[in-house]
Each structure stands twice: as C-alpha cells, then as structure tokens.
C-alpha cells in the first residue's frame, strides 16, 4: 500500500506526512504553475476532478462495484447547481448543497435497482442508467439547454455572513476549490477508515461472508453508491462554476470512462490517493501532450493498456512497491553492516 493508504496507524489519523506534503504543494500552485508553462485553471480542474475521482473510487476501489456511468451524477450535480442558481436562489452554499442532494437522490434511485446485482450485470446497469440520464439531459432542451448546455452560470461569491469572497478570478476560485477539496478529502478519508468503510471493503472481498456475519450487504452497496453519487454531484456543481456552464457531454459514456481510467491508472484499487495521481496525470497529459498532438488520447490509452498489463495496481501501487523494495534494501544493507561489525569484516 502507498503511504497513508491503509496501515492501521495511519488509519486512525486524519493528517499524515503524505497529506501535509500534498497540501503544501497544492497551496502553492498559483505561485509556480504559470512558470512551468501551465495555468491556474488547470489546477482548478485537477482539484475538481480529483474530488470526483475520489468519490467514484468509493464505489470502484473501496466497494469493488464496477460503475461505468458515473459521469451522470457529476453532470446532474452541474445542472442542479446551474438550475438552482438560475431558477431558485443565487446562493453558493444552497446551490452546492442542491448539486449534492439531487445527484445523491439520483444515486439512491439507481442504487435501489442495481444493488442486488454483481459483476458484469451491475456494470451494465450502471451504464444503462448513465445513458438514460445523459439522454434526458440532451432531450430536455427547455430545462437543460439540450446539446448547447446550460449557459450563463455564474461563480457566486462565497458569503460567510460578515465577509464575502469574490470567486470570479481563477486564483481566488482555485483557493476556494482547494478549501472545499480539503474538507472533502478529510471527510472521505474519515469515511474510508471508519467502521462503515471497513464493512464496505469487506463486502468487496466477500459479499457472502459479510452477509453471514450479519451485514446488510444491499444497504451498504446502495448507500455507498448514493454517497459517491452525492459527492460526485457536489464536484459537478464546482465544475459548473468553473466552466460557467453545464454541458451534457460530461454525462456521456466516454466521459464516464475517463474517471475509470484516471482511477485505475492512478492506482485507486490499492490507494486512497490513487485517483488523485490519475487525475493529475490525465489532465496534465491532456494539456502537455495535447499541445503537441491532437492524438494525446492515443498515448494515454497506450499508457492505460501498459498499466493494466504490467502494473494493474496502478502508479500508486508501483510507487508503493518501489518504496518497499527501497526499505528492504536499506534493511539488508544495515543487516550486512551489522554482520560485518559482528564478525569483524568491516576492519
């Protein structure tokens, strides 16, 4: 396991050395990102997609449920945020809450139909529901704007009563998203390492055993799916703010596939941070390789194939294995030195 992912000592702690390093890097992004030829909006995208991928990984990595239509909930969150702002009330907190609640309710609805399924049937059902939501988004032109999308969404100010922050500037919005991301990560970290997270991980390993230990497997599968949908929807709300619009393409099957690729390439199956690594790699590759060729997805696709073939545990798993090898070698070296000292070979 990668540092901080699963060891029992880390499990009970909300802040680990890995987290501190990550936060330090993220907090300084606007200071150096333009110097390396990139731009603050990329940072915003990475954080939002990271939150989405972490939520998605609750289902895929933690519960072992193959959901391939998760873009639907990200998109529902984006539309809910926009519709709330345009038609109900232009309040950031209420609209973000609406994004999470509506996506969560959609997740509950779908979960009720699919949670007694497993494997390929589960996967197909998630695709089918994802396609239904995507089609509804395209066809409900009067509500969603159809293929043109829901436009004129604003970045509402973050109002804290006594003080209000304008988020129209990308750097200000980056720090807002970073703060939200930090809260989201802390909540997901706690959830993953809670008794609930432990039961969900157990269900991934054996539904039968979990049921015979007295756990209502259906309830856990349904609730983790709904929770994941809600957080995905919340991320979708942030994405609508970032894009100043909500489009149906994020709900499509191929866009749902992106989050699967990000999660697997990063190593979401073995590490809490895997999806974040995958998102960073995917979006950076899109911009860096995409600047050189339109066929950047070809190269990312090749990377995906290589990882599935040679490192199915993803980059996080490969890093973890490398660190373990390094520690083992260090131990061996220390052991050899100690032996030399004992037998006098060091003289």
């Amino acid at each position: 396991m990668i540092v901080g992912s699963n060891s029992s000592s880390d499990a009970a702690r909300l802040v680990t050395p890995t987290m501190l390093v990550l936060w330090l890097v993220l907090a300084t992004v606007p200071l150096w990102i333009t110097r390396i030829g990139l731009y603050p909006y990329l940072g915003i995208e990475i954080l939002i997609w990271s939150l989405y991928a972490l939520a998605f990984n609750l289902v895929l990595g933690r519960a072992g449920l193959p959901s391939f239509g998760h873009g639907a909930y990200f998109g529902i969150g984006a539309y809910s945020f926009g519709l709330c702002q345009l038609d109900i009330v232009a309040n950031l907190w209420i609209c973000l809450a609406a994004a999470a609640v509506v996506a969560g309710l959609a997740g509950v609805l779908v979960a009720m139909f699919i949670s007694h399924r497993r494997g390929i049937y589960y996967a197909f059902m998630t695709i089918a529901f994802g396609q239904i939501f995507w089609t509804l988004a395209i066809k409900s032109h009067r509500i969603t704007g159809g293929e043109d999308g829901l436009l004129k969404i604003k970045r509402l100010p973050a109002d804290f009563g006594l003080v209000s922050f304008d988020l129209t500037d990308n750097v200000a919005f980056y720090y807002f998203v970073l703060a939200v991301f930090a809260v989201g990560v802390a909540a997901l970290w706690r959830l993953v390492h809670s008794p609930y997270g432990r039961v969900v991980a157990a269900i991934r390993q054996s539904e039968v055993r979990a049921a015979h230990l007295g756990y209502n497997v259906w309830l856990y599968k349904a609730s983790v799916f709904a929770l994941s949908a809600a957080v995905s929807g919340f991320a979708g709300g942030l994405f609508a703010m970032a894009q100043l619009a909500a489009f149906p393409d994020v709900m499509s099957l191929h866009q749902s596939g992106y989050v699967v690729m990000m999660t697997l390439v990063g190593g979401g199956l073995v590490s809490f941070w895997g999806p974040v690594i995958g998102v960073f790699l995917f979006l950076t590759a899109r911009d860096v390789i995409g600047a050189l060729t339109n066929a950047w997805m070809l190269y990312f696709g090749l990377l995906f194939i290589a990882i599935v073939l040679f490192r199915p545990e993803g980059i996080a798993g490969a890093l973890s294995a490398a660190m373990q090898r390094h520690s083992l070698n260090a131990l061996r070296r220390r052991g050899t030195s100690a032996m030399r000292l004992l037998v006098g070979g060091g003289r």
Binding site: Y196, R209, G214
Partner: protein, 247 residues
C-alpha cells in the same frame, strides 16, 4: 424446546428435488453431526438453515422463533453463525480485523462514518481474545491470505465464535486439514461442546463419531438415519452403506 429446529424442509431447484421433508431438532448445547455421501443435500440443508436458500416448504425455527426464508444477514443477527466448506475470509484483512468484523458490537457500529475503525481498543482486545481461543494469538497481524491452511480454518471458526452465536454451523471443518490440524480442531470443538449448540457437516467419521452427541445421515435429500454415534453404529442402513465402514 429445541434451540434449532427444521420441520419438513423441502427444496427444489427446477425439476430437481434436493431436500425432501427433512426434519432436525438440535437441543441447546448439543453437537449434532450431519453426514452423508457427496451430493446428498447436506450443504443445501445448511444453506437453508443460514438463509442462503429459501425452502420451497417447511419451517426453520431458532429458539422457537420462525426464521424461515429470512435473509442471511438477518439470520446471522438472530444468532446463527457459519463456516464454509470452501473457506471464505476477508483475505486482505489481518486475522484480527477478520475477527473484528464478526463482533456484534462492531456490527452495531457498521454504519458509523464519523469514527476511526482502528480507534477503538475494545474491538481489538475482543478480537485478540477470540484468536487466542483458537490458537492464533500470535498471528493477529498476519493477513488472512498469508496464513497456513490450518490457521485459516481456525480463523474461520474464530470469526464465527466472535459473533457470539446461539448456533454454530460448521460445513466440513476438517476438510483439507492434516492429522495435526484435525486434532487441533477436535480439541477446540471439545472445549466448545456443551457451551454452544453446534451443527457440523463432516466427512471425517472419526472426528464426528468421537465428538457428536447425535448424528443425522442425509442421503438423496432425506434423513435416512439418526441417533447417537453408538445407535448409528448399530443402524442397519449405515452398516450396509459405505458410511458403515467408518462408523
């Protein structure tokens, strides 16, 4: 009143009748063995007792309460724990965490998302006690998949015991064990005898005949003989069958 009772249990898969009017009454503290040839319907009967298979007809009662057709998790919550013929553990979890999952107190907290699972020492201590009871005291931190076959069998029983069950159903507990492993298991079961109601499917006749209070023989989906080990040794059907050789 029996602790566990099956009355007229009938199971049909399509055209095939797997169990036909099977009756069983297990008294509190009794060790009841179930034996019979492969394909006789023993595991299906276990699956009916533990909720994996719903009977077409018949009743299952636990402590007098009708539990027929309840889902496995509800039956487990009412006090029936089981092990599996093909071992089913949480392989990525440590032995201690496997046992922890079985604790009723942990299960009651299963929907808690606010606290850390590893933060409560009581769970770890209770799990360690259950491991010590099956001789795995020093293997709490070892991942289930890294344990030896015999230790995995012992861990399955530790997990079931952690559930504080009223009835423990063991499906071929000695399967795949060497003579040392069988001896170790026999010692453990002998310790539990009288304190816990146990129903065990078993092919190891020596194990069963030395430990069971009563034994039911299932063949072609029906109970063809039942009695104490001594009575079964005198039973004409058992004597004529292959099973008689061992009895």
């Amino acid at each position: 009143m029996s602790m566990l009772e099956a009355a007229g249990v009938h199971v049909r898969f399509g055209d095939r009748v797997v169990l036909e009017s099977v009756d069983l009454a297990v008294a509190e503290g009794e060790f009841h063995g179930v034996m019979g040839p492969n394909g006789a319907g023993k595991t299906t009967f276990f699956n009916v007792l533990t909720g994996r298979v719903k009977p077409s007809r018949g009743k299952i009662r636990l402590g007098g309460e009708d539990v027929t057709g309840l889902s496995p998790h509800r039956i487990a919550n009412k006090g029936i724990a089981r092990s599996f013929q093909i071992m089913t553990l949480f392989d990525e979890f440590s032995a201690r965490d496997n046992v922890m999952m079985g604790l009723p107190e942990f299960r009651a907290r299963g929907l808690d998302i606010a606290r850390a699972a590893a933060g409560d020492r009581r769970f770890a201590e209770q799990a360690s006690d259950a491991l010590a009871a099956v001789g795995l005291a020093d293997k709490g931190d070892v991942r289930a998949k890294d344990l030896s076959y015999g230790d995995r069998r012992a861990l399955e029983i530790a997990v079931a015991l952690a559930q504080a069950p009223r009835v423990l159903c063991l499906d071929e507990p000695t399967s795949g064990l060497g003579s040392d492993g069988v001896q170790r298991l026999a010692t453990l079961v002998a310790r539990l005898k009288g304190k816990l109601t146990i129903v065990a499917i078993e092919h190891d006749m020596e194990f069963l005949f030395s430990l069971a209070d009563r034994i039911s023989v299932i063949h072609w989906g029906q109970v063809v003989a039942r009695g104490t080990p001594h009575e079964l040794q005198q039973n004409e059907w058992v004597r004529r069958s292959n099973l008689g050789k061992f009895a």
